[in-house]
Amino acid sequence: MSSSIAKQINDILEARKSRVPQLEELLRKCDPAEMPLRNAAASLKELADNSPEKPILVDACREYVGAIEKFQEKLATLKNDVFIARQRFLRGTVNIGFAGTKGTGKSFLLQKLSGLTDNEVPSAEGMPVTAVRSVIMNSEENRAHIAFFTSAGFLAERIAPFCNKLGLDEPATLDAFRSLSLPERCERDEEDIYRQKLTEYRDNLAAYEELLGTGERIFDLKDLRQYVSYTIPNMGRPGGEKVYNWLAVKSALIKCTFPRSDVGRLQLIDLPGLGELDPSLEKRHTDNFKELLDLCLYIRRPAGLRMDWDQEAQKALDTLSESCPAGKPSDFIVMVINAGGCKTDMAEIMERETREKMGVRYKILKAESSDSEGLSHEVLSKALQQLADVLPQNDQALAAELFERYTHLKKQVKDFVDDAKRILRKEGQDDTLDEVIWEKAKNAQEAFAEKSGEILEDLALKAFEKKEEPQELLDALDEIENSLRSYLENGMDEETHEEWIKKAVRSRAKDRNFDRFKTDTFNHMRVHIAKEFSASLNSIYRMYVERCQAQAVATFNDKEVLNGLLPEDKPARALKRLVEYMDQCRDSVESMRRAVSELIDLKIDHDTQFYPRVYEPIRVLKNAVEEHVELEGSSHEERARSLYTLLADLGTATVSDIRGLLIQEVRSHLYNILYVAFERFDDALIRSRESDKEWRRFFQSYHLDIVKNGGKASAALVLNKAFKQLDALGESLL
């Protein structure tokens, strides 16, 4: 019998784990829908805002946005539930919770089943004794892992619920809590109890404050009680001495060896707070049930309670039922009549009453023994049997329910997308005949070809015939040369020429020669020269690329082409807008899109395209470093001056050489690059296999914006965007 309990627990846990990949797959399926849902909602909102002249379309869009918001909620809830189920199935233990109002012997039962004693977890007649939700795990470690709140966590979890009940501002810091002003009394009894408790917590803050923020700590079991209990034993005081450390405790994991060691991977969870007047425990009582609990034992005892099934009992059962993780509540909750410590006849009455009211649905156990062995037999074995009976099918039902919800959501979204597209098509689309649109597209393509041909001719002239060097380049080179000249004449990397001489002489005194100083200066100078050219010229090349892009934009915006469809903005931005139009086209215009994107991405870079071609002077300068030089001069200072002159002259000559080479290289290649890039762009738009078809497709998508609105409104763009986003949404849950 005993070995079969451990085996059953193991089997349950292994079966669960095998479901985890399915749940993870479901999570992955849910993820792709989030963005399309957001995008579709945004597009439909934009469409509604953009179509004031079409009230039916506007109303439909608004309705659809509401529907999408509901889908978002459903999807979020589903994902959360799948995640919780995954966590539950990944758990390596079977968990049984012990719930019950104060004085039902819950802690006594836990003690006996776990082998703990009053020294670690107290149990007392009729008193709430455990203040912290403790997890007791069957383990040979025999130590407790206690996690403490941070200050912020403590204020939010422990204090804020009281403040909310009393209508007080939540303290943001411990100091604010320390000086929190509380009323002297409250009219309603319940509130006054809260006030008293909060006052007590505030006044005793010093007793537990230092535990806050200490993270997770491990204690011997003998030291445990002071952290999880309201009291510790004190011989002088009956009932013990009040302690407040529990207020700082977030959770406690007690690892101890259960008397019945054959139960294997089992955890018992003490669930304080049921029926207690502590708002900070109300929420925590059933928190994480779905993830944490497999079975809940609802403990009742006639002592201090009515024996019949009263309202209070039903309320507690309802609270537990609401948090049932899977299957029926009756599978999850097992009632335990604790006959220990009370008169036998009263326990029998309570059992009878309970069986009469609830016995048909719920399993009812009776705990009569006062020792571990007896209670294990009466409660634990039967509880585990219940688990073995219901958990596998409940786990399966839970997974199936999640998949069912996903399938249902998918169908709802698909139906929604079909419906929305149908209405949008009916209410929003251009009704011009295809033949008319195609003719317009053909004319636009021809007009584009004519104008871009002129641009190409001009570029060809500059690239292959005139080969005039661009004035902006010459001006930039003049500036670079002047700047470098000033650098070379005024001490290079030093403040002044004289400072350089001083340092050179000093360096010579140390090294006994100028070699190191010379080499360093040479290298710094070389790097400085290369950098100066690179930094200034990239902006010049960029300007030429922008001019080229601006010409393309102007061509597109021509009245006979796209009729001002692109915004008056920086050329690259205007072209990006065109790419956006292309992305939202109803049918693919990929060749056109690629051509425009390539023109946007066109970059002429000094370091990679020109610097290697004018590197020779730098290489020569680099080699010059190695040469030994004997300098003119009768003193070290004079020789340092000679060295400066030599280096500055060599630097100046190098700059001049680079300038000369750059002029030739840029003259030859700048317009070549632009010409080739623009020709590729032109070919793709005019002469590619796809171009005629794609111009027609583009016009079919945007005829309304181009012809009717003269590029001044983007109704068709917004409508197409909505279509695209709906399509993406439809595909996202496949």
Binding site: V629, L631, E632, S642, L650, I663
Partner: protein, 336 residues
């Protein structure tokens, strides 16, 4: 009769053997003359000390010697200032004749003359007519290598051609050739200020070989002139780039708005590198000597003086061949 006299009588009907230099203002005609003479003198002194060569070159009159020493002193003081810019040296104001004579085996020969004249005359046909170009046995065309090599911008190209007087030079050379008739002549196109474009001898730490580029650019620029000379069987054509100063390199080229080249040259402050040290002009003198010998050999006219001269030129060639690699001049390109 002297060998030059023999030459003149045999091939020419003039009184003197004439070498003319033609080019615009500031190109360095006078400096080239000074370098050719002084370098030849130094070489022959050295050769006489080491060998038995007895071919000397001397100024034939006081005026020539004074002008030469003035030019050389100007050059040296320019070098001493540590920097050179275009136009540092005084321009020639009027037609100058440098009268020189060879001493062969202890006996002086008849004068030969180097003609220098103001660059402005390029634009003054009247003045040019005063020159008796028909008598020029040798025509040297000094070319400013820096101007040609550093003209990177299209906007200066046309102005550069104007400033170099290329059209006038084409016309002048054509005139010289027609006036020479079938008489033998030597035409040398001599790029000057070539220090920055050859790696031998290395004038600065940045020395690199750009000689082919220079040749191509000169050929492109003076295409008209070279086409005019081409196929003239009596004319020998040589391309001989030279370093006229030798211890400076172009530091910063710049151009005025009028397209006038303004070069700033650095004198190296490295020990031993800051002396006037032309490279190449002496070889132009050698080439002239070889040209004379060639003409004699072709004419089979060998008097004892001519034979002595030819022997001296042979020895000269031998000595040149024996020079160290660094000193050897390997820049000559035979155009025809």
């Amino acid at each position: 009769m002297s060998f030059i006299g023999d030459f003149i009588e045999l091939f020419d009907k003039n009184d003197d053997f004439s070498i003319g230099l033609f080019g615009p203002n500031g190109i360095g005609k006078t400096t080239l003359i000074a370098a050719m003479i002084e370098e030849f003198k130094a070489f022959s002194r050295d050769a006489e000390r080491k060998n038995s060569l007895r071919l000397k070159l001397k100024g034939a009159d006081e005026n020539t010697n004074r002008k030469l020493s003035t030019r050389i002193n100007d050059l040296k003081s320019g070098i001493g200032m540590g920097v050179f810019t275009t136009g540092t040296l005084t321009a020639t104001a009027e037609h100058e004749e440098y009268k020189l004579k060879f001493e062969v085996e202890g006996r002086f020969d008849k004068n030969f003359i180097m003609h220098d004249f103001p660059g402005e005359w390029l634009n003054n046909p009247g003045k040019l007519e005063q020159l008796d170009v028909a008598s020029w046995n040798v025509c040297i065309l000094p070319v400013d290598a820096c101007v040609i090599m550093e003209c990177h911008e299209r906007r200066y190209e046309q102005k550069m051609r104007v400033n170099l007087g290329i059209a006038q030079i084409e016309e002048f050379v054509s005139d010289w050739l027609s006036k020479r008739g079938s008489n033998p002549g030597l035409f040398i196109i001599a790029p000057v200020k070539c220090e920055s474009y050859f790696d031998k001898p290395a004038v600065s730490l940045l020395a690199s070989d750009k000689s082919l580029l220079l040749f191509n650019k000169v050929r492109e620029c003076y295409k008209g002139v070279l086409d005019t000379v081409k196929d003239k069987k009596n004319i020998k054509g040589l391309y001989m780039p030279v370093n006229t100063v030798g211890c400076c390199y172009l530091k910063k080229p710049s151009w005025t708005k009028d397209g006038e080249f303004m070069g700033e040259f650095a004198i190296s402050p490295m020990k031993g590198n800051n002396n006037w040290r032309p490279f190449g002009p002496v070889y132009i003198m050698f080439a002239i000597c070889q040209f004379i010998r060639h003409c004699f050999n072709n004419g089979k006219y060998l008097s004892s003086r001519v034979e002595a001269f030819c022997r001296a030129v042979d020895t000269l060639e031998k000595l040149v061949d024996e020079r160290d690699t660094e000193q050897r001049y390997e820049r000559t390109i035979i155009l025809q």
